[in-house]
């Protein structure tokens, strides 16, 4: 067990994958000598060579498109998109090629491509550097989408993603890159909790609070603050965003009767809507109140001085918890 930051944990996971499978190649902008703008690939080019850790020209569609070609050739490309906001030029290759080629070849061609995306806000960056585009991909059939909320998962899940025969979007909560946690590097990813499973983090009886990626920490903080007020929250870390592992959420909501979902992405059409709709379908008669969404607003990601207003914080989550519980809250008395 060592204490590692998220960034170092992912680095260690990438290193393991590069060691274990000669077909793993990394592609991206500035991932070589610089080690990536977040240093996630630090030292890897030095140790594995320029043929395995490839600095590419500045063209995201080409990075993903050549990864498709490499996959055709039997490789397992791991692509880094430098920031969330730069994934859109690659959207066509991801949606029409990466996601669909297994289907379009009737299973003959596998697309074991991992697309690493630092995502989310809270780091004081300028525009296009704090996007939460996950819902675009969770709505895209053929892709798997995962994210991580602690360094151990960061380490394990990146390896699971790389060894998965399906394409995986691996979202890295960039504002947590420097947070540390225990990482057991001896964990065998094949024996660990599969990447498409959610994890219940705290037992609770009053409200189920679903979070993922950067907001898991906030959700846990909210749960302990709520505990001081005598409210018992069950926090679930989704981990997999497509598919969402609804089983533990259903079990929890059957117990609590209340659901709060939080994410940084815009509310309308966000993953929270999908979770709310699916849980309502599965638990309608157990729900005591409508599922509550505590999310970013339907605005372009705002300038950094005000970003904390856009991002769900501890108090806003607690306000949502109050709403789910029918306790006094900021919207008390409002109809519809």
């Amino acid at each position: 067990m060592t204490q590692l930051t998220f960034a170092r944990a992912i680095n260690a996971g990438l290193r393991k994958s590069l060691e274990n499978d000669s077909k793993v190649v990394l592609l991206g902008e500035d991932i070589g000598a610089l080690g990536g703008v977040f240093r996630v690939t630090d030292g890897l080019q030095k140790d594995f060579g320029k043929h395995r850790v490839v600095d590419t020209p500045l063209a995201e569609s080409a990075i993903v498109g050549t990864a498709v070609g490499l996959a055709y050739r039997g490789y397992r490309p791991v692509v880094e998109i430098q920031f969330d906001g730069f994934i859109y030029p690659a959207f066509d290759q991801i949606v029409s090629q990466v996601a669909k080629l297994h289907y379009r070849t009737r299973g003959a061609v596998k697309m074991p491509i991992t697309i690493r995306v630092p995502f989310g806000g809270g780091i004081g960056s300028p525009e296009h550097h704090s996007e939460s585009p996950e819902a675009y991909f969770t709505h895209t059939s053929g892709l798997r989408v995962v994210t991580v909320a602690n360094p151990q998962d960061a380490y394990t899940v990146i390896q699971q993603a790389i060894s998965c025969d399906d394409p995986v979007l691996y979202f890295e909560p960039k504002r947590r890159y420097h947070d540390k946690g225990e990482v057991d590097e001896s964990v065998d990813p094949a024996m660990a909790l599969p990447m498409d499973k959610a994890r219940v983090l705290t037992d609770g009886s009053d409200v189920t609070l679903v979070a993922y990626g950067p907001l898991v920490k906030t959700a846990l903080d909210a749960a302990s603050a709520a505990a001081d007020e005598g409210i018992s929250i069950e926090v679930i870390d989704l981990r997999s965003l497509a598919p969402v592992d609804y089983e533990p959420v259903v079990a929890s909501v059957r117990k609590t009767g209340r659901l709060v979902i939080t994410h940084e992405a815009a509310q309308s059409g966000g993953l929270g809507a999908e979770v709310a709709a699916s849980i309502t379908e599965r638990c309608f008669y157990h729900l005591e109140a409508a599922p509550v969404r505590v999310t970013g607003f339907d605005i372009p990601y705002p300038y950094s001085k005000l970003e904390m207003h856009h991002l769900p914080g501890l108090d806003r989550i607690l306000d949502g918890v109050d709403r789910a519980l029918g306790r006094p809250n900021s919207l008390s008395g409002l109809e519809g």
Binding site: V25, H51, T56, P57, A59, S61, A62, V64, G65, T66, A67, V68, G69, L70, A71, Y72, R73, G74, Y75, P77, P89, D92, Q93, S96, Q97, L101, H102, Y103, R104, T105, R106, G107, A108, V109, K110, S141, G142, R144, C164, D165, D166, D196, A242, P243, V244, D245, Y246
Partner: protein, 389 residues
């Protein structure tokens, strides 16, 4: 903003100003439209081994794929296929290049290279699966080393480049080749593919069939200068060949493949040809193009031209013609049989191959849909327009 505005002087490039759209004569030609073999100091070398027998075989292949094209068009008219993109007029470009490939090379093409697929040995039924609407894909790409054809214009050029980077990593001496049209040269992906191919000196051949039209848009709208010149701006050597001359196409492709295999990096080939048919069976070219143009190009027909050469060489015997016709007819009838007897897919097939490992979202939907279908006697009833209940 109109393309009529281009007369205002000033914009000149050294290589080919005033030679828009690639109709100029400056291209490599080894057989004239009249069927005369003309020699070329550099390129004769690349076809030095093409025997009389091989010439006849090229003639056969070109004739067969034209026959395939005619048959598929007929199948579409008869309602057996949903759509078909004819290759009429582009036989030399497809056979000349397709026949230059080795089995371990890999092809990334557009929807139109059905003649190349024929060279790769595609199963004729597989060729039609997608156009019949029976399956999401035709052949297994690894069975003939040719990717599933691409409809997203230009996207395949990146796949070819990535595949070539893989060849390079493997230390293999194979090559990737990608086919695309004149219109495709405007897409970002094609240009990015050239950036990557040049940067990594990947063993990939960019084979651009300039058939003068992108649906209704003339090539001049995409570029005022020759498309072959585009590549040099990326540091990629390029060749412009008469795309209706099977030997010229062969020579250029062989040179390019040889360069790729020997670590010389990418090459761009512009094969100047013409789309004699409609864009697809759904298209109506009379809305946008002149009948005269068609006539001009008919005079440069690639098969007639090769026949001319065979004639001059005394090879165009009645026997050969009969043999070729028999072959073409047999292929066409095999293909027709394969098409019309193809079993219909089963409703639950639509859930197959989305993922290669189980997916909880999809499994649930699949289960629900199976229950839904089971609630009807006949699955067709479940989806009829008027409803079955």
């Amino acid at each position: 903003m109109s393309t009529d505005e281009t007369g205002h002087g000033g914009a000149k490039t050294p290589q080919s100003a005033g030679n828009p759209g690639g109709t100029g004569p400056e291209f490599l030609q080894l057989i004239t439209p009249a069927g005369e073999r003309i020699s070329h100091p550099e390129f004769d070398f690349w076809v030095r081994d093409v025997s009389d027998e091989q010439l006849c075989s090229l003639f056969e292949d070109m004739t067969v794929i034209r026959r395939i094209d005619v048959e598929a068009t007929a199948l579409q008219r008869q309602g057996e296929l949903a759509l078909w993109p004819p290759l009429l007029g582009q036989e030399a470009a497809q056979i000349g290049s397709g026949r230059s490939l080795r089995a371990d090379d890999f092809v990334f093409s557009s929807y139109r290279e059905n003649g190349v697929a024929y060279c790769r040995g595609v199963d004729l039924t597989d060729l039609l699966r997608v156009w019949r609407g029976n399956a999401a894909g035709g052949w297994d790409p690894y069975s003939i080393n040719m990717a599933t054809p691409q409809i997203i214009i230009g996207a395949q050029t990146l796949h070819a480049t990535g595949y070539a980077m893989g060849i390079q990593n493997d230390g293999a001496d194979a090559a990737a080749i990608t086919y695309f049209g004149d219109g495709a040269t405007s897409e970002g992906d094609v240009n990015e593919a050239m950036v990557f191919a040049a940067s990594f000196q990947a063993p990939v051949v960019f084979f651009c069939t300039n058939n003068h039209w992108a649906i209704s848009e003339p090539v001049r709208l995409q570029s005022h200068i020759q498309l072959a010149d585009r590549a040099t701006g990326f540091g990629i050597p390029s060749l412009r060949v008469d795309g209706n001359d099977v030997l010229a196409v062969m020579a250029a492709t062989r040179l390019a493949l040889d360069r790729a295999r020997r670590g010389g990096g990418p090459t761009f080939i512009e094969a100047v040809s013409y789309r004699m048919g409609p864009h697809t069976t759904a298209d109506d070219p009379t809305r946008y193009r002149d009948a005269n143009e068609l006539e001009d190009w008919a005079a440069k027909d690639p098969i007639t031209r090769l026949a001319g050469l065979l004639e001059r060489k005394g090879l165009l015997t009645a026997e050969l013609q009969q043999q070729v016709k028999t072959k073409a007819d047999a292929v066409a009838s095999d293909m027709r049989r394969g098409c019309t007897t193809m079993p219909d897919p089963q409703p639950m097939d639509i859930f197959k191959h989305v993922y290669s490992t189980p997916n909880s979202w999809l499994e649930r939907q699949q289960d629900h849909y199976a229950r839904y279908l089971a609630s009807f006697g006949d699955p067709a009833g479940a989806v009829s327009e008027e409803g079955a209940r």
